[in-house]
């Protein structure tokens, strides 16, 4: 039997109204569920979740300790400065993109200028003009990822220098920052100099990150470029569903569900079994890591940067020391219980021999220290993870190499 047009209209209306009510009911239920979740389990502030964990040990650091680092601040202000504020680990810093977040968490202490404390023997800030002041720059291997504050390379350097020159006022500052390579470190130093913080000696410890990030730009440049465009256009380039999905993500119900996911903490990075797939550049063929164009560019970059760093030192009246650090892919046959290096750092396997050959043919001017060979006959564990970051012994050996070679310079500056 054929149905008339009015019959079709009636049928649509019969379906439409209940469907609209169901849709409305579901939406209403969703809103109610969000209000209920927020009321019962909320608020879902990331800050508050992180702050809840801040009652963990501050280690040995006290307000008395920090007074010499913040001489013009009240105790209340110091308390605030010793407390992590954002729990990001790094914060934005002009020119160099990021710098370690100030505060103390689980025994790691960072000054607001960005240097990591080297333990209770930390020198004052601003640096004591009557002391020998040494700024040490490097990546996470220098900052000491996986180590306590007093186990890092700069901490060992200070201890070794003070032991070798008893009574001499020597203060070492650990400006190592995760992901930094030589040009970023040099710009970091320049910013400090422009702000009036001039050391007697600036030591740069590089190698691993220079090959990992083979170009000149800081590690997070691509992200910053994208964020800048996204933010400036206020999402104009996003499709409508992006806003809808982002909006839904922020609802209390969704955040409550997400709150069950483990937070990205240091303990998760170093505490459990390390999944090699998490390393940047994992699983590429050898041709990816030994591309000669990139390796040559690293060497060009390193020495162009050294030239600029030396010039800055001359302009501001301090000495520069450039050090090539040991890496597990070069002249190291000791045990690596966590596995051998993977990811883009593997460029060091081909890059270090090239760099050595270049240096042999073109001896660098200025103060240059080659510490890459120090582990050649050491049959002990020197790395805390998959052949990237040093353990305490690895840091101590590296520090010893630098200190022994720069001892005449240190004596001359005292």
């Amino acid at each position: 039997m054929r149905r008339s047009l009015s019959d079709w209209g009636l049928t649509i209306l019969e379906i439409y109204r209940p469907a609209a009510i169901v849709l409305f009911n579901v939406s209403l239920l969703f809103v109610v569920a969000n209000i209920a979740v927020n009321w019962i389990f909320g608020p879902f502030s990331v800050y508050e979740n992180h702050l809840a964990r801040l009652d963990q040990s501050r280690g040995e650091y006290s307000v008395e300790f920090a007074r010499k680092l913040y001489p013009e601040r009240s105790d209340a202000e110091i308390e605030e400065l010793l407390t992590y504020q954002h729990y990001v680990g790094v914060l934005y810093q002009p020119h160099i993109q990021v710098v370690s977040e100030r505060g103390i968490f689980s025994g790691w202490g960072f000054h607001e200028t960005g240097f990591r404390f080297i333990g209770l023997d930390q020198g004052p800030w601003p640096p004591d003009p009557s002391a020998l002041t040494i700024f040490v720059f490097g990546g996470s291997t220098t900052a000491g990822s996986g180590l306590e504050d007093d186990e890092t390379i700069p901490a060992h350097m200070q201890a070794q220098l003070r032991a070798a020159l008893p009574g001499a006022p020597i203060n070492v500052y650990n400006f190592g920052q995760p992901g930094f390579h030589s040009p970023v470190e040099r710009v970091y130093l320049e910013s400090l100099v422009a702000d009036g913080f001039v050391p007697d000696i600036a030591v740069f410890i590089d190698g691993y990150n220079d090959f990992h990030i083979w170009h000149e730009a800081p590690a997070m440049t691509e992200h910053f470029q994208r964020w800048f465009i996204e933010a400036q256009t206020e999402g104009a380039h996003h499709a409508p569903q992006w806003f809808i999905m982002k909006g839904i993500e922020q609802l209390p119900l969704m955040r409550w569900i997400n709150s069950w996911r483990p937070p990205p903490t240091l303990q998760h990075d170093f505490g459990g079994e390390i999944d090699p797939r998490g390393y940047d550049g994992y699983g590429r063929p050898h041709g990816f890591y030994n591309e000669r164009r990139k390796l040559n560019r690293v060497i060009e970059k390193y020495f162009a940067n050294k030239k600029i760093g030396d010039a800055v030192g001359r302009a501001a009246g301090f000495e520069t020391v450039f050090t090539v650090q040991p890496v597990s892919t070069y002249k190291f046959s000791g045990p690596q219980p966590n596995g051998a290096m993977v990811g883009k750092g593997l460029r060091t396997k081909w890059g270090y021999p090239l760099l050595k050959a270049y240096i042999d043919e073109n001896p660098p001017g200025g103060r240059f220290i080659w510490c890459a060979d120090i582990q050649e006959n050491v049959n002990e564990i020197l790395y805390v993870d998959r052949g990237i970051h040093y353990n305490n012994l690895g840091a101590e050996l590296t520090a010893r190499c630098i200190v022994e070679r720069m001892m005449p310079l240190a004596r001359s500056k005292l």
């Binding site: 710009v187 000149e216 730009a217 910053f224 922020q250």
Partner: protein, 437 residues
């Protein structure tokens, strides 16, 4: 309408509520569907242009009016598709993020007026192309290459590229150094302070582009950014925390609002409200405000910090340039005319900061000579101010550009003459590491 069986079963008391609820539900869904339909209709028929549409129109206009000849002259070895890509503005923001210097001018051709010649071009490396006189990139080894690095752009609505400070310098240096071609590259970027100027040079050097002469024209932004943090810094600090701690976590309502604004219907309404083209709703607008009023009180104390930082940057820039065999020149330049009187607008923080800062800087430089490669070019004749105020000139004028270029040339020519009559031979090296990207 006859009551249904269910209605009868649930009783008379709940009928008004159910009817009301049913009406609200239907109406809500109706509105939603209407809104979607309206957006589709507007999108199809009303033609609210998006940013992408505007950029595409600009690109097509550039291809029609200018074409790739100019870019081919700068980079003769590039393929046509590379030149087309280089000439196209991709984001329409005005700036792009740049490592170390924090931001630089967005590359590509921008229309600045209705005429077919009203185009300003920025090379992907960051320099503004000086029309037909622009030298090749990378700088040829047999030419004298001059990098002009400044926080103040000398091209504006009232002034063409050929009347910019770098163009005037190029013209004069070609007359002074006739033995070699002289190519000036205009790396000036609005808002850069002396630290960013130094970093700009360093970035170019790191990539193997070594000039024979580097000119640093700074001052205004050193004073305006008195704590030394570049433009965008506070904005970046907030943004970085948002991205990392909260992962773009605005409240849900923010996303809904943006969704409404970005929809065709929203763009149409917003464009009427703001009386702009829909495509320009998120175009080139500054994010950071001028210094806060509290800066007024700190100007005197900060003034010394500004000058100290400037002098430290100058010393580093000079030493770095020297290490690469380049000659560096520095001028402390004025802010281009802003159409305001220098004697009033006491509430204008920026104006007061600059006036106070210049006075302090002038006093400092008077007592602490900065060498033969430095010149204070900041004094602006009162008649120029009066003319600018009378004409309502905002930004550089031909007169202000000529005066600044003349001041810069004096320091360059005097310094090069004093070092064994180098003006005659021009500071050219036979071999230098200049290379393509």
């Amino acid at each position: 309408m006859e009551p249904s069986t269910n209605d009868r079963a649930t009783g008379q008391s709940s009928r008004p509520f159910k009817t009301l609820y049913s009406w609200i539900a239907s109406t809500s869904v109706n509105i939603l569907i209407m809104f979607i339909a309206l957006n589709i209709a507007i999108s199809l028929f009303a033609g609210t242009a998006t940013k992408e549409d505007a950029l595409r129109d600009e690109y097509l206009g550039w291809r029609r009016d200018v074409g790739t000849q100019q870019l081919r002259q700068v980079e003769p070895n590039r393929a046509e598709y590379e030149l087309l890509d280089a000439g196209r503005r991709k984001h329409g923001i005005g700036f792009v993020f740049e490592p170390y210097v924090q931001f630089k001018t967005e590359s590509g051709y921008t229309r600045i007026g209705p005429s077919s010649t009203d185009w300003v071009a920025v090379h992907p490396t960051g320099f503004r192309i000086l029309r037909a006189d622009q030298g090749q990139w990378p700088p040829p080894g047999d030419a004298v290459s001059v990098f002009y690095i400044s926080g103040t752009v000398s091209v504006g609505r009232n002034i063409g590229v050929g009347q910019s400070v770098p163009a005037l310098i190029q013209e004069s240096l070609r007359g002074a150094w006739p033995d070699r071609p002289v190519y000036v590259y205009d790396f000036s970027t609005t808002g850069h302070n002396s630290e960013q100027s130094r970093l700009y040079l360093e970035s170019l050097l790191m990539r193997g582009w070594v000039p024979d002469v580097a000119i640093f024209a700074d001052g205004p932004w050193d004073l305006l950014l008195e704590d030394g943090d570049p433009y965008f810094t506070n904005w970046w600090r907030d943004r970085f925390i948002q991205v990392h701690v909260e992962g773009y976590k605005h409240p849900t309502l923010w996303y809904l609002k943006r969704l409404l604004i970005q929809s065709p219907f929203g763009r149409l309404i917003e464009s009427y409200k703001r009386n702009v083209d829909p495509a320009d709703l998120v175009a080139d607008r500054p994010i950071v405000s001028t210094p806060s009023v509290s800066a007024l009180g700190r100007t005197d104390q900060a003034g010394s910090g500004v000058v100290r930082r400037y002098v430290a940057n100058k010393a580093m820039s000079e030493s770095i340039a020297d290490a690469f065999g380049s000659k560096a020149f520095f001028v402390w330049q004025p802010l281009p005319p802003d159409g305001r009187s220098t004697t009033d607008s006491a509430a204008d923080v920026a104006a007061v900061t600059l006036r106070t800062g210049y006075a302090r800087a002038k006093a400092y430089f008077g007592g602490h000579p900065q060498g033969a490669n430095f010149r204070l070019c900041a004094d602006r004749p009162s008649d120029e101010d009066a003319a600018a105020e009378r004409d309502g000139a905002v930004g550089p004028t031909p007169v202000s550009n000529e005066r600044l270029a003349s001041c810069i040339l004096k320091v360059i020519l005097a310094a090069t003459r004093s070092t064994r009559q180098e003006a005659a031979t021009a500071p050219v090296r036979s071999s230098k590491p200049k290379r393509a990207d």
